[in-house]
């Protein structure tokens, strides 16, 4: 005896019966910084392995950006816990003191990704600082030879893992939108690469080689176009969920903040690099960063609000 007026109110997905985990601004900022760090390390690693000596300055900047971003973001993950003093339980099993690892728990995976990423980026950042004469010269050897190449490869692998796993954390839940799509890891990876390249352009435009900056712009363009495509696929395939979750003001933030300000206008500015004179490139990079931040804000907080 199902009442028709109740059936009409049935939610669009089985994920509508769950409770919000109250992941708020700490997680939004951590996901932003994590994506940015991962993207910067990925790009710096590619330049390190496949670039020319002219790319070296931007490579160092990329590693340092990644280190600073992960150093700022990592503690936010601990602060977000309701029992932050117990965070070590994610690393060690308290009864055996053996490593704690669960392959189906993205948060557990993330701990090891963060450790591996920080190690690679940390060592190469030391080498970068030594190259600049801020640390003993001997340390610069850490970034050279086979060790340097392996660490650069490590940055590429762990950087993409760091940027992508943040999306996986959301997918491996039962929450509306997050769990309804398999595209969030890809979306966050692409937007992380966007953020990484935009930050490298912002910080390294003067020191870096013009060819390197152009390559970063190209990578930013590819990832932004990828983001647009993924967002379009998500919207079409998840329309019944999207129209509920992004139906109100979050939809406006997504269209205006993420798509228009964060993707379309930067693409236009790259296409017409003299639009704002010398400020064109920095403005485009800042808008990209704004768009990446708003993307994470919309994806996380819109589902939290359901």
């Amino acid at each position: 005896m199902t009442m028709p007026w109740l059936v009409a109110q049935l939610p669009p997905s089985d994920t509508s019966f769950t409770v919000s985990p109250h992941w708020g601004w700490y997680i939004v900022v951590y996901f932003f910084l994590g994506g940015l760090a991962g993207g910067a390390a990925f790009l710096a690693g590619l330049l390190d392995l496949l670039g020319t000596p002219q790319d070296r300055a931007m490579t160092r900047i990329g590693y340092l950006i990644a280190l600073v971003a992960v150093a700022l973001g990592g503690p936010l993950l601990i602060l977000d816990l309701t029992r932050p003093e117990r965070f070590w339980h994610m690393v060690l099993q308290s009864n055996t003191m053996l490593p704690m690892f669960k392959v189906y728990a993205p948060l557990s995976l993330g701990v090891y990704i963060l450790i591996a990423f920080s190690s690679c980026v940390g060592v190469l950042s030391l080498a970068a600082l030594a190259d600049w004469g801020l640390l003993p010269r001997a340390l610069s050897r850490l970034g050279e030879g086979i060790i340097g190449k392996l660490l650069a490869l490590g940055c590429i692998l762990t950087g993409t893992a760091l940027a992508g796993y943040t999306g996986l954390v959301l997918t491996v839940t039962n929450r509306p939108l997050w769990a309804d799509s398999s595209l969030l890891a890809l979306l966050f990876l692409l937007s992380g690469i966007s953020a990484g390249s935009a930050t490298m352009i912002l910080c390294g435009q003067r020191r870096g080689n013009a060819g390197t900056v152009r390559w970063l712009e190209a990578m930013e363009r590819y990832s932004s176009l990828g983001e647009i495509i993924v967002l379009a696929i998500m919207t079409v395939t998840l329309w019944s969920v999207v129209r509920v979750v992004w139906g109100g003001h979050w939809g406006i933030v997504l269209i205006v903040g993420v798509v228009l300000l964060g993707i379309m206008i930067p693409l236009f500015l790259q296409h017409r690099p003299r639009t704002l004179g010398a400020a064109t490139l920095p403005v485009a990079a800042l808008l990209v960063l704004l768009g990446v931040f708003l993307l994470r804000t919309v994806v996380i907080l819109s589902s939290e609000a359901v």
């Binding site: 007026w5 029992r83 189906y104 997918t171 839940t173 990876l189 152009r214």
Partner: protein, 328 residues
């Protein structure tokens, strides 16, 4: 209409006697609370229930909405009961399961617009203790365990409050307890089972709407009850939710329902959080490989262009003296 209380034939006589002794108020002091306030002293241990899958069968047709289960749960587990506001939603001021409410009696009013016809649906909701538990799967510290009774318990002392289990539970059962600041939910009175006592809610239920026992026995009793209801009231459409293994491998707390699961706030087809993990990981890895390839191709093209430029310049350099020579 109510079924008699279930008792598992597998329990041995010794444990039955021990439970009877433990339940005698003169012989035994009241046990300490096990919830966030719990400190407690040593409690004489009766023989535990034998280690086999145990759970609840909730027969919603005989729930009268008395909330004795809610009170018994809070009382035994030392959970706060600071309800100071009325929800305005029927007689339901608990509203949902969370870190302080491990039992929740739902009051579902189904009336026509003119309220001429209608009915009440009442259901005491609780953690489902899923055979394939989403919360257990995503917990990054191993704080959520499966017990010898096939139930799912959160160990409060290793919970870090990451809230992954809250997002991972397909039924919205778990929340942070504001006293312990850790995730909490029904333990199926794990402490009581280890002392040979049935869960507090099942013991307090006056109509046997909440029945506790060995899962195999409960399945049989539940099927008999469904057949009985549908035989007497063919239009009732009674069915079991979560008794079979099609829902998360089976729910160790399953229900007899009279309407669609969604009406009771239950998903029709709940899934494990990891269902999209392989596809999402593959897409992420594919994206990374794609971007790395694009980056490598762009760097290669840049290098080739530079070589071509150098070659053109060198060629131009070689060709340049000729006109000079000609001129000279």
């Amino acid at each position: 209409m109510a079924l008699p209380a279930l008792s598992s034939p597998r329990r041995n006589e010794d444990s039955r006697q021990a439970r009877a002794a433990a339940a005698t108020p003169v012989a035994t002091p009241l046990p300490p609370p096990a919830g966030p306030h719990g400190t407690g002293e040593a409690f004489p241990q009766a023989a535990a229930y034998p280690a086999e899958p145990m759970g609840f069968f909730t027969d919603t047709t005989v729930c009268i909405g008395c909330k004795a289960c809610e009170v018994a749960c809070k009382s035994w587990n030392g959970l706060s009961s600071d309800i100071v506001e009325l929800s305005g939603q029927s007689y339901d001021n608990t509203r949902h399961l969370d870190g302080e409410n491990w039992r929740h009696v739902q009051f579902i009013e189904q009336f026509s617009d003119d309220r001429a016809t209608g009915r009440w649906l009442l259901m005491s909701d609780v953690c489902k203790h899923c055979v394939h538990a989403g919360c257990l799967e995503v917990c990054p510290t191993g704080a959520i365990i499966r017990t010898e009774y096939d139930t799912v318990v959160i160990q409060a002392d290793t919970c870090i409050g990451c809230r992954a289990c809250i997002a991972g539970c397909p039924f919205g059962v778990i929340e942070i307890n504001p006293v312990s600041n850790t995730a909490m939910k029904c333990t199926l009175c794990y402490d009581r089972l280890q002392s040979g006592l049935p869960p507090a809610c099942a013991q307090a239920c006056p109509t046997h709407s909440i029945q506790f026992g060995a899962i195999a026995d409960l399945h049989q009793a539940a099927q008999r009850r469904v057949d009985q209801v549908n035989r007497q009231y063919p239009e009732a459409g009674a069915y079991l939710y979560g008794a079979g293994d099609e829902i998360l491998g089976g729910l160790n707390s399953f229900y007899l329902l009279l309407d669609a699961p969604e009406i009771y706030g239950l998903p029709a087809n709940p899934q494990l959080p990891s269902r999209n993990m392989p596809a999402a990981s593959a897409l992420g890895i594919g994206g990374a490989v794609g971007m790395a390839t694009l980056g490598a191709v762009a760097l290669r093209k840049r290098r080739m262009d530079a070589f071509a430029r150098q070659a053109a310049e060198a060629h131009a350099g070689e060709a340049a003296p000729e006109p000079e020579g000609t001129a000279g």
